[in-house]
Symmetry: C2
């Protein structure tokens, strides 16, 4: 049994889902894959809970639910600086799930650099660091001889990065079309049924799908981050946020959506990347798709990615019916299992 002494940065929806999923399925993963996690540090903005012998996860979840703060865990250190703390902990693995900034990549970027520099593997759910510094981080991981896996960053239940890693050898991805943001797809689905954009946003917030500030989703930035990660991972790109033409769904009208459907089309917030000579061309924008397009049939919070390849035809992976953060948590745990391979 390999036991990873584990640091979990971020204890919001994703971080707590990782803890809960480990409590539910950890024994199964230990049995089937000879891998175990010992959580030696869990941190949020309030502070860090620390225990080299392993934190009491049920108690930590209770404390967080009751107070909203990891700092209320017995013996926790208040406001401990993230990267600084990582540098001083004996650990083997960082699970990075702190809040995303696609502009600066922080604070996750510093967490990841600190962890790699101290010889830790990194399993990352945070898009920001990849959008800002994908190739730098890949180089650092190689130099430090640590694993750096990011399945949770791109429409997590869809094994897009696993497919890149394990299933496309010898084949080339020519272009990608994706509906990688479930929140906007949920809102567009409600708008097709006659609701306004603002109504759709409120409903998505009530369903726990949209954040309090929905602009990351609604204005297309989350989709842009994901198509950048796909372009850099699957198509050899070296693309940043300024290279993507980004338009969200604020200009879309409910009438337009219903008219389109009557004419046999669906409007989706589509993220695309294609080769354009030696360059990659990326965009995020509302797009009209015929109803028999595999991304057009996605309703509710469904997501999908369509890979156009040279050897394998058009490979499409979709997911529907996953509105919980467990899909993201599972993506992190499957990366942990795959580190050893």
């Amino acid at each position: 049994m390999t036991t990873y002494r584990t640091i979990l940065m971020g204890f919001g929806n994703v971080g707590r889902a990782v803890a809960n999923l480990w409590l539910q399925r950890g024994a199964q993963i230990e049995r089937e894959h000879d891998i175990s996690l010992r959580f030696v540090m869990v941190a949020d903005r309030s502070g860090a809970a620390l225990d080299p012998g392993g934190l009491d996860l049920p108690r930590l979840l209770e404390v967080k639910a009751a107070t909203g703060a990891v700092a209320a865990y017995p013996g926790a250190e208040l406001g401990l600086g993230g990267a600084e703390a990582i540098s001083h902990i004996e650990a083997d693995l960082l699970l990075e799930a702190s809040p995303t900034s696609v502009r600066t990549g922080e604070p996750g970027l510093s967490h990841i650099r600190a962890a790699m520099s101290h010889g830790m593997h990194v399993v990352n759910a945070n898009k920001g660091p990849l959008v800002v510094a994908y190739h730098d981080l890949m180089r650092l991981a190689r130099a430090e001889n640590v694993a750096f896996l990011n399945s949770a960053t791109v429409a997590a239940p869809i094994p897009a990065l696993d497919i890149a890693r394990y299933s496309l050898h010898g084949a080339q991805v020519e272009s990608i079309e994706a509906v990688p943001n479930g929140t906007t797809n949920y809102i567009l689905t409600l708008m097709e049924e006659g609701r306004s954009l603002d109504d759709g946003i409120r409903a998505a917030q009530q369903a726990g799908i949209a954040e309090t500030d929905p602009s990351l989703d609604v204005d297309g930035w989350d989709s842009a981050a994901k198509i950048i990660i796909l372009a850099n991972t699957l198509m050899g790109g070296s693309v940043r946020l300024d290279d993507v033409s980004v338009q969200g769904i604020r200009s879309v009208g409910a009438d337009e959506l219903r008219d389109l459907r009557r004419r046999g089309q669906a409007l989706k917030l589509l993220a695309t990347v294609r080769r354009d000579g030696d360059e990659l061309s990326l965009s995020v924008a509302p797009a009209r798709l015929p109803l028999d397009h595999p991304l057009a049939i996605l309703r509710g919070s469904g997501m999908g990615i369509l890979f156009h390849t040279d050897l394998l035809g058009d490979l499409c992976v979709t997911v529907t019916g996953d509105d919980s953060p467990f899909g993201t948590a599972q993506a992190m745990l499957r990366d942990v299992v795959n580190i050893g391979r």
Copy 2:
């Protein structure tokens, strides 16, 4: 660089596609994955070409194209018995691509056993041995400490077995719906456009999609073999051909298909497996699907697999536009690359 001394059994569409793909993309795979293949034996029904230093693949392809027989390769041994020959060759890897029998599993079953018993890894494109002896072969592979990978056996361009291996840790598959046979889907698509079953079969044969004897596809046996492999691999099953209720498409009428589509449904040859208490329940039969079902939109030789999971929602993988045997060949090469992990 790891060089596998390789035996290729079967030099029909799939075997030749493997040789051609290696000629086209082998250098790329060597560069990216530090893995190489040296073909020391290639055999078909006529005989075996042998060279411990590595066969001349372009010449072998020419000879096969000109004469239809590997036996015409310079120095080839005539009618060399498959399993017997494998036992006497110094090799590290068997690529099994000989003709399938889902009833007996032979000759592939004997090839695979001989290879494993002599310490060779096996990458297999042949459904028959898995349908007849899945668990026996898995046990033998573990006992001999060799890899046994089968990506090419289930709708090859779809990374179904890769997803099981690398992407579902901690999650459970509750049921599977699949359209795993492109030939019948191609015929049904033509029938929707008004062609008869016999016309559809002839068109599929002319397009190189259907075999001369189309019954394996048309009567549902190919689909049955694939859903058995999925059930045994992803759902812990121990299922054989007699456990599957199998109905093909011979009773389907073109009028029925067109009527259904007018009523917003599509008819597909659907293979399913679901849990039924402690047992698995499997069937292959024509089924009516609503037009927004992710398998209903598959046209032509498209294939798809829909996994209903407990943690990740409904995950659907489809492929369209791959009518060549290169998808199957690529599945074999990706398994070779993944052996090392």
